[in-house]
């Protein structure tokens, strides 16, 4: 996308982090809410394969890439597993 008004004023999200942003754009994982390194420091998973699961509240998060490179995130109820196990 191009803009005829470049020079927007990107600002820092309070309490958040911009780290990992470039990684996200290239198929990597975002920083986790707890601040652990993405994937526990493991090398990025190959494209199109589900990534190791993150959590958001009651949800388990599985990331992958579609054939054309677009991101796909599947959210599932992680409470079932918690309750079972």
């Amino acid at each position: 996308m191009v803009s005829d008004r470049p020079g927007a004023d990107p600002r820092e999200l309070a309490g958040g982090s911009r780290a990992g942003q470039d990684a996200q754009r290239h198929g990597g994982a975002a920083p986790t809410p707890r601040g652990e390194p993405p994937d526990g420091g493991m090398a990025p998973a190959p494209r199109s394969e589900p990534r190791p699961r993150e959590r958001e509240g009651p949800l388990a998060i599985a990331r992958s890439r579609k054939g054309d490179g677009r991101a796909l995130i599947l959210y599932s109820d992680a409470r079932t597993g918690d309750e079972a196990g």
Binding site: M1, G57, P58, I61, L74
Partner: protein
């Protein structure tokens, strides 16, 4: 490639995403791109995989194939509420609706952390009356690379009133009571005093929460319950599938904690079979002409919500 042009006369951005002319338009149920992929899918047009290449899923988010915003100036995502083509937000299991709030929260955090996103805009268009091109229950999330005009106006209102406007309006609505539709521990739903649409409704967090990130789990559950109750009431109002635009307003992602999380509904119906059109006064003067009084709309909606259960 998308582009932005700044309209100096109005002082606002216009987004050109001309590839969207080619986006999927009201496909048959068999070709719904938001349904799960059936086993045995091939590359043939009749059996090709859908946007979600798994046989079943709960909630899915993916980059829009026809983005209104795209890196390096923003993002556009689709959020699919369920793999059930015939469901709707109101008919989701309560647990699923609550999970949807967590997905919103997750996307707000992640998109809001990007340098090229100044405002995370979560919304749902429901019904062909508001331009929906896919019927499968879903919403959208734009990572907008600037603060858009409507949320910006809300922040201007805060400056004008010298405090949080949604907090002040909520107090007024609770004191008046005539336009209140739903109350629970977390949120209050009301037809606003100066509603522009006949059945406009605002869903406002009781406590001052700038964004979904500040909400307690119980507040997210309360928000989901109220949203479902309202949307079921909408469908019961005229005993038909009720079209609406639903938008989530919350803090811009600049870290200043401005704004107050709330959800606004703009339904275009003014009767069971008549639409409100934005015509000369609304488009050219920016002044809404309403055919209904908010107090009367609220009374009808309260009855419908009670009937829907």
């Amino acid at each position: 490639m998308n582009s932005l042009r700044f309209d100096e006369l109005r002082g606002e951005q216009v987004d050109y995403a001309i590839h969207r002319q080619e986006r999927t338009f009201l496909p048959t149920r068999e070709h719904c791109p938001l349904c799960p992929t059936r086993p045995g899918a091939t590359s043939s047009p009749e059996r090709e995989p859908t946007e979600i290449p798994v046989p079943a899923f709960e909630i899915a988010v993916f980059d829009n194939r026809f983005p209104a915003f795209e890196p390096p100036l923003g993002a556009a995502e689709v959020i699919v509420y369920t793999d059930d083509h015939d469901a709707s937000f109101g008919t989701l299991a309560p647990r699923r609706a609550e999970e949807l709030m967590w997905v919103w929260r997750h996307r707000y955090r992640e998109l809001g952390a990007r340098e090229d996103v100044d405002y995370v805009f979560i919304f749902e268009n429901r019904g062909v009356e508001v331009g929906v091109t896919l019927h499968h229950p879903h919403g959208q999330i734009y990572g907008i690379p600037f603060l858009p005009p409507v949320p910006a106006l809300e922040l201007v209102a805060d400056e004008r009133l010298g405090g949080c406007t949604p907090c002040a309006l909520l107090a007024r609505e609770l004191e008046d009571g005539r336009r209140v539709l739903i109350e629970n521990d977390a949120v209050v739903v009301f037809v606003p005093y100066a509603a522009r649409w006949a059945y406009e409704a605002h869903v406002v967090l009781r406590r001052h929460r700038a964004s979904l990130l500040e909400c307690e789990p119980a507040e997210l559950a309360g928000l989901a319950a109220a949203l479902q109750s309202l949307t079921r009431g909408y469908d019961a109002l005229f005993e038909r599938r009720f079209p609406y635009v639903m938008v989530v307003h919350q803090a811009p992602t600049d870290g200043l904690r401005r704004g107050h999380l709330h959800v606004e509904f703009y339904p275009p119906l003014r009767t069971a079979d008549k639409l409100k059109y934005l015509a000369g006064a609304e488009q050219g003067a920016g002044t809404f002409i309403s055919d209904t009084l908010p107090e009367e709309s609220a009374a009808a909606l309260r009855e419908a919500i009670a009937r829907a259960g």
